[in-house]
Symmetry: none
Subunit: 217 residues, 2 copies
Amino acid sequence: MTEVAAKGVSVLLVDDHPIVRQGYRRVLESQGDLHVVAEADNAADAYSAFKAHDPDVVVMDISMPGASGLEAIRNIRARNPRARILVFTMHNEAVLVKAAFGAGASGFVTKSSEPSAVVKAIRSVNRGERAMSDDIAHVLAEDSLSPSGSVLDQLGEREIEILRQFAGGATTEQIASHLNLSVKTVQNYHYLIKAKTGARTDAQLVRLAATCGLTKI
Amino acid sequence: MTEVAAKGVSVLLVDDHPIVRQGYRRVLESQGDLHVVAEADNAADAYSAFKAHDPDVVVMDISMPGASGLEAIRNIRARNPRARILVFTMHNEAVLVKAAFGAGASGFVTKSSEPSAVVKAIRSVNRGERAMSDDIAHVLAEDSLSPSGSVLDQLGEREIEILRQFAGGATTEQIASHLNLSVKTVQNYHYLIKAKTGARTDAQLVRLAATCGLTKI
DNA sequence: TCCGGCTTGGGAAATTTGCCCGAGCCGCCC
DNA sequence: GGGCGGCTCGGGCAAATTTCCCAAGCCGGA
C-alpha cells in the first residue's frame, strides 16, 4: 500500500452517462479528499480500470447496457476480495439491493440521496464499513432481509427453470405443459419465487432474471 | 441577440436526483457563460421556478415522479411560447422524442452524450435553434425509414408512461399514486396496453418495453 | 433415524384480469 | 357548426389468478 490513503480516497467512477460521470467527478473532487482516478462506462472497462488503478472505492451504477453490473461486481471482487464497491443507482428495489450485496457490494446509495450522503457513504465503505442510504435501509427493513448470498442462490433448480421460462415470456399454461406440471404448481412456484427474491411485481421478477443473466432481453 | 450572448445564458435545471443536479450545475457553470439560476426536482416546482426566474433555457429530465415531464413542458410553453426547453434524459425511444418535440421542446439530448454536446445544445436552443444529440438524430432517422413503425407508436402518451413505470417495476398502486389516477384506471390501461401490443404476459410487456428502449434493465 | 429442503399439488379468500360500458374532452374534417 | 374518432378516466362483474395456508412424498445429510 502506498501513502494514497493518507492523502485521501481514490475513486473509480462507473456510469454509462458521460455527463453524469463528469458531474459526479466535480462533486466528489470538490470534497478535497476524494480523487477520481479513472472512469468507465461499462462493465468490461470497469474491470480493466480496476486492474489498472486499484482504487480505494469503486462507485458504480449497476444499470448499464451490455454486461450486468452485478457481474462486474463479482469480477472485481473475484480479483480482489478487499475491493470496496459502492453501488450508486436510481433503482431501489429490494431484489436489486440484495443481489448487489450478495455479489459483493459494500454499499448501496440511490441517486435520490443528497450529495453529502453519497460522499459520506464513500468514506464509510473506504473504512471497510457497510453503507446504504436511508431509503434503501427502509426498503430492506420492510423486506425483512434474510442473510443470504446471491438472490438466485436461494432458488432451487425447478424454481430457476420456472423463473427463466416466465421471464422469457411464457404463460403459466405453457410452463406447466413444458415441465409436465399442473398449472397450480406453477402458480405456487411463481408465488414462492416472488417471496424468496423479494420481488413485488412480475416486472421486477423479469428485471431480476435479466440482471442475473438468467434471461436475455 | 448579441447582448444576450454577452451576458450569458440563464438555466433552470430540472431533475429528480439531487446529486445529478449538483453535477450538472458544476459542469454547466464551468463553461463561464452558463448560469444555473434555479433547480427543481418535479414538474410542479419546475413550473413555479420558471415563473419566478424566467430562465433562457430549461434543461429538463422528463422521467420524473409525479406529473409527466411532457405536461411540464406544455405548462411552461403555455405560459411563455418563447420558452426554450431542452429535454435531457437517458431515454432514447423515438416515440418519446417525438412526444417531447410535439409538446414544445426545443431540443432533446441523451445522457449518453458528451458534456460538450450538451453545452452545445444549450447554446443552440438559446439561439432559437432546434437541437438534438447524434444518437437521437439516428433514432429518429431510422424511425422515419421503418415502414411498420414501432409497436409503441400505437400507444398514447398516458399508455406509454404507464408502461414505462410498470416495466420499471412499479406496482399498480404506485403508478396510480404517481399519476394521480385510480387503481382501476391503471388496471384498465394495463389491459389496454397488452391488447394493443399483443403481449399475453406481463413479462412480455417488460421485454417489449426494454427492446423498444422505453426502460433499461 | 430424524431433520430439513425440494417438489408437487389442494383449498379458500382476496385480488386482479378481461372485457364491457359511458362520459368528457379535444382535434379534425366535412 | 356538427359529427366522427381518438384519448383519458373510471364503473361493473364474471372469470381468472394470486396469495397464503396446508400435506405428502422424496432425498441427502447429521
